[in-house]
């Protein structure tokens, strides 16, 4: 794949992940506020999330969007403000994306596993 084509896909991926994040962050914050104001304890929250396919899918999508969005944005920041770019940077950011995905999915599993 040519560099320009790959860059075009990266832009699309960032826009698409931003759309997911916009919705996911609102739902997440609203849920947190409702839960805290409702006075639920950590154990009571886990009781509701454990085994929930809905929450697993929602937070799984959230984590995936973060893992796509953050490294692409970081790539632009590194190029524009630090002046570093190229294949080594891109490969490092792929590893960063995988680390975000792994740690995020681990957290999702911890709160939604049966």
């Amino acid at each position: 794949m040519s560099a320009v084509r790959a860059q075009s896909y990266l832009w699309l991926a960032q826009r698409a992940s931003a759309a997911v994040l916009a919705l996911a962050v609102i739902v997440h914050l609203a849920t947190m506020i409702i839960v805290v104001r409702g006075g639920l304890s950590a154990a009571e929250i886990l009781e509701r999330t454990r085994g929930s396919i809905g929450w697993a899918v929602f937070y799984g999508a959230f984590v995936l969007a973060v893992a796509v969005h953050a490294p692409i944005g970081l790539r632009t920041i590194l190029a524009e403000w630090v002046g570093v770019r190229g294949r080594p940077v891109d490969l490092t950011l792929v590893l960063f994306a995988l680390a975000l995905l792994a740690s995020g999915l681990r957290a999702v599993y911890a709160v939604t596993r049966p």
């Binding site: 084509r5 860059q7 075009s8 832009w11």
Partner: protein
């Protein structure tokens, strides 16, 4: 006749130059270009600056006035001088040749890189193309076609400063007018040229170009249009 004067700081020399101070008489309806011309003709004939039409058509007299890129021939001193002071420097993001003159070659080279020239599809034996003025494509062309190539948008763009290979607002605006020109035959190559990290995708939509364009054009909208078309082309596998 007023005897008030204006304290003017003018950049002298190349990149390593410095500001020099001048006293210039205030005149009614005086423009910043009038001020620079007064200095060059009455105080220091070695001052280098560039201008041609003096009426906002040629795009050659743009400079940095009190830290902001402006066309100097249509900028009245009354609107920019604070407390009788004015600072005039060359345009940002372009190599300084001397004093207030910058090398515009990198700016126009990017127009060429963005495929900013018309690619004809008809010959001289064909009839005139008939373009309905009310179509969306022609209206998009009309919205951006009055660019005079002054470089104000380019000098105002943060992304150009951060990413020197970025094509910049003027070149992308030019490409957008040609993308919407139904007579043009170079669309695939043009979309290819404006895609990627150095092209339309680099724009952060800060809109400095739009805010400062002296012709009230909206390069931000042109770049957004290119982003949409390039994204569509990428999905279809048309970006190589």
């Amino acid at each position: 006749m007023t005897t008030a004067t204006l304290a003017v700081r003018v950049w002298r020399g190349g990149v390593d130059g410095q500001f020099h101070d001048y006293e210039v008489p205030r005149r009614p309806a005086q423009t910043v270009l009038d001020v620079v011309t007064y200095i060059q003709r009455r105080i220091d004939a070695t001052l280098a600056y560039r201008f041609a039409c003096r009426v906002g058509m040629c795009g050659s007299c743009a400079m940095t006035v009190d830290g902001r890129a402006r066309w100097t021939c249509r900028t009245h001193v009354d609107t920019v001088a604070r407390a009788g002071r004015l600072e005039i420097a060359p345009l940002s993001h372009l190599p300084v040749i001397r004093d207030l003159v910058v090398d515009m070659a990198p700016f126009f080279d990017k127009w060429a890189r963005a495929h900013g020239s018309f690619v004809p599809t008809a010959s001289r034996r064909d009839d005139y193309a008939r373009i309905t003025p009310t179509t969306a494509a022609r209206r998009a062309v009309d919205a951006g076609i009055e660019c005079i190539g002054c470089g104000v948008c380019y000098a105002s763009c943060d992304v150009v400063a951060w990413k020197p290979d970025y094509l910049g607002p003027a070149a992308l605006n030019r490409a957008w007018t040609l993308v919407n020109d139904t007579r043009d035959g170079g669309q695939a190559q043009r979309l290819q040229a404006v895609a990627g990290d150095a092209g339309c995708h680099a724009c952060h939509t800060h809109q400095s170009c739009t805010e400062r364009c002296p012709k009230q054009l909206v390069p931000t909208a042109a770049i957004a249009g290119l982003k949409r078309l390039v994204a569509r082309a990428a999905v279809r596998g048309e970006i190589q």
